[in-house]
Symmetry: D2
Subunit: 337 residues, 4 copies
């Protein structure tokens, strides 16, 4: 069975797992107060050029999102997100469960549009309404698109003129950084966002995400917020050492690039065979449109997500290449269609 | 530096880590829907003698506690706990953050007393008060004591007569099961509790806890509750395979016994040298009372928790033996005092 | 200054206030346990033909909505509402503050469409998504439209096939019942909805709304939910006696009819003068489209809501007739345009 | 039947109700933006000597408490209260429902002890624990005692040294101000507290409480918090005009004094007949200890609260004098015992 279903279905990149094996029985302090977490934090601060950034380690993207948003917002403050936003669709109301309203904006391509944000802010102008306070963006987005530097800067300006915070969900940040069109690095993201996270689970880590908070006002008592949300991991050193391996010499970005290159190869091959894509391929997710019969046939040999019924005899499927995918696997798929 | 600070400061038991290494690159379905999770669940159902038990995998004890209590309770329902209860002290109000009140009962030894529970229920008798609905117990308890079967059965009866659910936080369940005085096994716990969890993080697992729900009314939609709390781990297979290793042939119970035997040796040695313990030793936590000077001296050579100042020139410290501790380490400590 | 801004800007209908004056110093039991609350409840049960309906008294529509929805839903369950829904726009996230997600459906006329509800239910089909569980409708709706019996029955069928509850926000129920097109009474609403409220504050009461719960599963412990939300009014008798006056002999429906007739007169007059309405007039809210200049001129002499800028030199304003409005006031307005 | 059960069982002081009757049909702006609310606010600011105090109007003490505490606290912050505190016992977990933990301190007499507060703060010293942030006190307290100025000043100092806010629940503030031992006025309370409320419902108002916020940091967006909690009353003018009547010429304090004087007469009479009180009488609540037989006999002729069983053949009952109680009623009771 060919596996193109997602990018979180094997354990860890071997180099990451080796590091855990090597340090398995080393006594460490707990709750991310250990040397590995601190060393990695220092490295990240250096890489992003912000010596005062707060660095935290949490397992699971939903847990990061809900912890951050609950920590950053007052009760009456709301989050602006796209309608496709992960928090709006696939987190079972985790943010609302912390008491906050989402204000959802439609998009063409999964990217949040500054003008749409302006409009949301303009109409929320009375005390019987929530106060928009933060934008939530994903990069790569849910349909696999990637922000450009210019787009991120435009969002930052939009945030500044509307007194909004800017938060990036980086579950697939590796694939954004590895994208052909990506014209920025972690330091740009750190400069533009008030907070973001570097997702490990979908790109090489066994488990864990690294949270970066650059806005001083958001830093105090963040660990209390983590604990309250069940996000303060007792054995933080395990996450700290994984990110050391992933980020020290660019393995993280390299794995992202690998995913994206296979994504491009897959998309190009599909298009060369005359099929259309529902979304432009920009990273490791490819959304071809096939007939229902063809999808039924493929399901016998390939694991993938059945994404959307077009109700015209065709449907969209989602194919995902991961750091563990190979060119042979891509070719194997292309040979099937 | 001798390490007796806690039982969660090395990564994993080598057999557990080996299993991950061996299966590292095996494609699995996600969100605990994989074969490893299912196989382990089947095994646990067999071990506890409940073919219908719901089994779930979550990383982190606080996350388990808040997910379960939020899932099981209606908004106006409250949790009865001891004042020392982990949820009452060391989880930064995680349960209250889901909207629920804790009703706290003092204890002598960290164990919940059925008569105290009866009293709490008796006085909560009007619609301006919360409705007690579940008891929360830890086993081993925070001061390291262990429930007997008779005590658990008495609590079950108490729950039945007061229409309460019974939930056990098993962060240190291995050490309860390994205790000299323990006269029950997992199947008894499953029979008596409506839900409980088998803690992995403190006893051999790299990360992960295994939740067991036996009460049919608490089973539906639990995964939605997990997701909403950020507790649905994408790579569930990693937790599933760890518990396979830990529980298949009794490694889990064996490690607990090891911890407890070293705890006893440590306690006996300390008492033999003429020192008193603040709590009777029953598991892997030992609470000796030393003079302030002695504690200051020990701090140079041993890592431990400074537990409580007696304000009489003495203080209580907490020493914890773990599955990785050795008899030599215990002797090394005893030689120091 | 002519007042056409809303229907909650004088204190109470004289008959209602007289009743309070007359009973001012009568000792009563508290928290809605008094004879007046019970007598009114019995009368309402009789009027709606449901001897088992639970009747409660709460001050303020937002408080009713949040109390009911928090009481009726499990944490992962969501509310389906129109995008214009009061809970979605003008209650500062009150429902989300109790932890629940709103699923918002666009409309033409403020009324919830059963097919749109079906679609929402169809796509919420996995455990990473909230579970739709209740529909929230307002009657009259925010743009002043009124449901027909056929529409309400279609929504009930829709709820039944999707396992949804049906809840009606009756802040302006008097004006729905008084509408020309209304072909049902309170007993139909009680038969079709699982719960609804009869709004007093906008139609004759000094303060207070009457909540009706007909679904047996939603009745237990509702008072605990009220108390937790700050909605259990100590002097409930004041609300009970007001609804006795309003409902006993149809004063409530009569006042609604008065509002609506003036609304129709106002709408007809505006249309007769050649202006368009943004929404068809069906109750006591009229939404004419005037030029910006004309609106600026009117603002000097009339109090009304400036509703929406059309960005073409015209704008929509909202005019509201209330039970205290007179035909002379309507004519006075019509003479101005 | 003689009524000594509570102080909220008739509608309103005649002067208060007259004011509503007189202004019944005056058009007013809504949501406390009207002239009556503003005029009363200006008067209160003058009376308390704080021209910048924020003044709000809310109906119901529980609603005030939960709105204020939810507005003032970050998610991980906790409230210090006495174990008898109204929020800890009789509000069905309303504060926890907004996500916050209560830290409860035992008392002798219902008053919060600064040293106990210091101890709570001292032990909450790690990021796995909630952060104490505000003290909640009631005045009069639940057992009817009244703080002295020295006690309130000591609590303020305690708050300052522990970085705590100070909040007073003034449900029965009239009776505190009217107490013989009271050596302060509203301006002292405003100077010492960060926020407090002047309870109307138990002392002359038909419905409504007046919230005073003196701490600048707590003022912004309070109305959004009110709305989110269902506490923004559409017809605020009704509350505004009531407090104008109550506070303008001291009627509020006078009614409180009346309650307390009758309380003292009642207590003195009971003691003169040889009975003991469970709490020293300081305001309008009297807690005599009678035999079970005597209580059973009294219940036939008097309405009161059966407070506590002493399990020795005697019990404590609660008698409450209200602004509408008369000396004759007190004598009538004394003649019965």
């Amino acid at each position: 069975m060919l596996f193109l279903k997602n990018d979180y279905s094997v354990c860890a990149h071997p180099a990451v797992l080796d590091e855990i094996v090597k340090n398995n029985l080393v006594y460490s302090d707990s709750y991310c107060n250990d040397e590995r977490c601190e060393k990695t934090a220092a490295m990240v601060r250096e890489q992003i050029g912000d010596p005062d950034a707060a660095i935290h380690y949490i397992i699971g993207g939903t847990l990061v999102n809900k912890t951050c948003l609950a920590a950053f917002l007052k009760p009456y403050e709301a989050v602006i997100t796209t309608v496709e936003g992960h928090i709006a669709v696939h987190e079972t109301g985790a943010v609302e469960a912390t008491g906050h309203r989402l204000l959802e904006v439609p998009t063409d391509d999964g990217k949040l549009d500054p003008e749409a944000v302006d409009r949301v802010c303009a109409i929320h102008n009375m005390d019987q309404m929530v106060v928009p306070r933060i934008i939530y963006i994903t990069n790569t987005t849910e349909p696999g698109t990637v922000y450009t530097l210019a787009e991120l800067e435009a969002l930052r300006e939009c945030c500044d003129r509307n007194d909004l915070l800017m938060y990036m969900d980086g579950a697939r940040l590796a694939m954004a950084l590895g994208a052909e069109k990506c014209d920025y690095d972690l330091s740009d993201i750190a400069r533009l966002c008030d907070a973001f996270y570097i997702g490990g689970g979908k790109c090489g880590a066994l488990a864990g995400e690294l949270v970066v908070i650059t806005n001083d006002e958001l830093k105090p008592f963040f660990r209390q917020n983590m604990r309250q949300n069940g996000a303060l991991f007792a054995k933080g050193m395990i996450v700290g050492m994984q990110f050391d391996v992933l980020l020290r010499d660019g393995l993280y970005q390299e794995l992202g690039r690998h995913c994206d290159e296979l994504g491009k190869k897959l998309a190009d091959g599909i298009k060369a065979k005359g099929y259309k894509l529902a979304h432009e391929q920009e990273s490791n997710m490819v959304f071809p449109i096939f007939t229902n019969e063809m999808v039924a046939e493929l399901e016998k040999k390939v694991m993938f997500e059945d994404w959307e019924d077009n109700f015209d005899g065709t449907r969209v499927i989602r194919l995902v290449t991961s750091w563990v995918s190979t060119e042979d696997e891509v070719n194997e798929f292309l040979d099937m269609i």
